[in-house]
């Protein structure tokens, strides 16, 4: 686990800094080094963190196969042989066949695309929407802060799964995009709250105050001084959320309102497999897509954990 690697701090903070050779006075031009050294230090830590390396490689692999599933699966996920329904794993068909007689291995490989797309797009939407709303509220302050914060509260007040089910069951569209849309529309408040908080903190930093006193323009302050500091918590939160969004897609599909066949997705396959008593006769049809999904979620959560530990100087 990444957490346990952060050693207990033996000395007072100053003494640690001294021991590491980071004594004050070596730092020049604090306004740039503050942000840059945070990222360089984090990168230095991450490169040596096995949890990060493993999860990053896994995610890279998943992204590659969701772009080019043909690389490792030569069959067509939609061409099924009903005659081989529920047949167990065998040579050439390592994961066996599902109820429809489709090759589970091929479907598991092709299923990555839907899950990864939902996860990435929803996270992108959440991060952009949340960071813009929260960032503006924190930066402008005053009336707009109140208004945007209340708006955030309104969306925060709707439980995620509940709101998603209601929305998806009411619209007639199906496919990936409504799922992405509803997840993004209901999850951005968390990011908004975090980025509002960190923008306000960053604004109060001495060096930002100093830049303001020196007459730096608003846009320059936002870009050069506030964003670099506010963006770290957003990235951490977004990475962890990405994993939970992938799991959420599966849950929505299980409830019959997410993705639906003929879309190939882990959620669709898992919900088909966890239905009824099939589990006793053919556990493989649940096992493989569920394992693929869990591994993906795990990879993103661990990545988020590792990045958080690297970026959080408190835990160093």
């Amino acid at each position: 686990m990444p957490d346990q690697q952060s050693d207990k701090t033996p000395f007072g903070a100053q003494e640690v800094a001294a021991a590491k050779g980071l004594t004050a006075g070596t730092a020049t031009a604090p306004e740039t080094t503050a942000a840059r050294s945070l990222w360089t230090d984090a990168w230095h830590d991450l490169r040596r963190n096995p949890v990060f390396i493993v999860s990053a490689l896994l995610i890279l692999f998943l992204v590659v196969i969701s772009l080019w599933p043909g690389l490792i699966a030569s069959r067509d996920p939609q061409r099924c042989q009903l005659g081989r329904s529920l047949e167990g794993p065998s040579a050439g068909h390592w994961f066996g066949f599902d109820t429809q007689g489709c090759d589970v291995y091929t479907r598991t490989v092709y299923g990555a695309r839907a899950s990864i797309t939902v996860g990435l797009c929803a996270t992108l939407g959440v991060a952009v929407l949340g960071a813009v709303v929260g960032g503006l509220a924190g930066f402008i302050g005053g009336f707009w802060d109140t208004l945007l914060s209340r708006l955030t509260d309104v969306f925060f007040g709707i439980p995620l799964v509940l709101g998603a089910i209601v929305f998806l069951s009411m619209i007639t569209l199906t496919g990936i995009w409504p799922v992405v849309l509803v997840i993004a529309a209901l999850s951005w408040p968390q990011i908004a709250r975090i980025s509002r908080g960190s923008v306000i903190t960053a604004k109060q930093n001495d060096y930002v105050q100093a830049a303001r006193a020196l007459g730096a323009s608003n846009s320059r302050m936002l870009l050069r001084h506030i964003l670099p500091n506010a963006v770290a918590p957003v990235i951490v939160m977004a990475t962890i959320m990405l994993g939970t969004f992938i799991a959420l897609e599966a849950t929505l599909s299980y409830l019959g309102v997410g993705l639906r066949p003929p879309t190939v997705s882990w959620g669709v396959d898992i919900s088909a497999a966890s239905d009824g008593m099939q589990f006793r006769n053919a556990p493989h049809i649940l096992l493989y897509p569920a394992a693929a999904l869990s591994l993906t979620v795990l990879a993103f959560i661990m990545l988020g954990d590792a990045v958080r530990d690297a970026l959080d100087p408190k835990l160093r």
């Binding site: 309104v154 509940l162 209601v166 799991a247 849950t251 591994l295």
Partner: protein
Amino acid sequence: MGRYVIRRLLQMIPVFIGATFLIFVMVYALGDPVSALFGDRGPDPATAKALREEFNLDHPLWQQYLLYMGKIFSGDFGTAFNGQPVTELMERAFPISFRLALVALTFEIVLGIVLGVVTGLRRGRSLDTTVLILTLVVIAVPTFVLGTTGQFFLGVEAGWIDPAVSPDARLDELIVPGLILALVSLAYVTRLTRTSVAENTRADYIRTAIAKGLPRRRVTVRHLLRNSLIPVVTYLGADIGTLMAGAIVTERIFNIQGVGYQLYQGILRQNSPTVVGFVVVLVLIFLLANLLVDLLYAVLDPRIRYA
């Protein structure tokens, strides 16, 4: 303190209106509540007209919303898909879901906090690593997979529990479903407690407590835990709302006729009064739980109380 509560309650009103309006728009503007009632058969025009009037569908949306909320506050939630008033469904469903949430919360408090404290105090040991890996697995594997396989092994194979919960949903029947419902939050509570305990062991005031010559037990219980559990307690408070609203999957797996189950039926049958009615109450519970969290925070942490 009193003024703080009142201010927070007043702040809740616009949020409640906004959230319920959003749900209302989703259901009444995106769906067609009347034709949904008739399913695939086309509605008889006369009946349809009467229904449109009953739902105030001829008015602009915001008026519909106001009229609907007016009815709700006079206790009229409309008629459910089976012809019963929605309020009757609620009277049956909410106590069941509440019991389920209570079982889940108990698991979170007892198991989550104990595991979190133990691992937080013994960071890096094998027990710590094992528990951490377990929490990650629980978070990563979707609840419905854990639920269905758990139901299969414990209910069908081992025969320890009934795979389906009876309509009464007795407390003993809810133990396994409650555990399944709790699992994800349980994992988060464990991790949160662990982090919080581990961070606080390094705090200056813990060093002071040791320097005072206090026995280790007293240092741990009075000084370390008292501080470390503040974020955990607030997480648990907020979780009450999530547990009530998020039990849809668990209730579906175990056939528990609680809030999630009824809501799901309402959605399947496109019965707008059921859906909106239940969701409005759930939003209210969710908001009240969040208010409770803020108040708990103020009670537990004097720095906020007097601020």
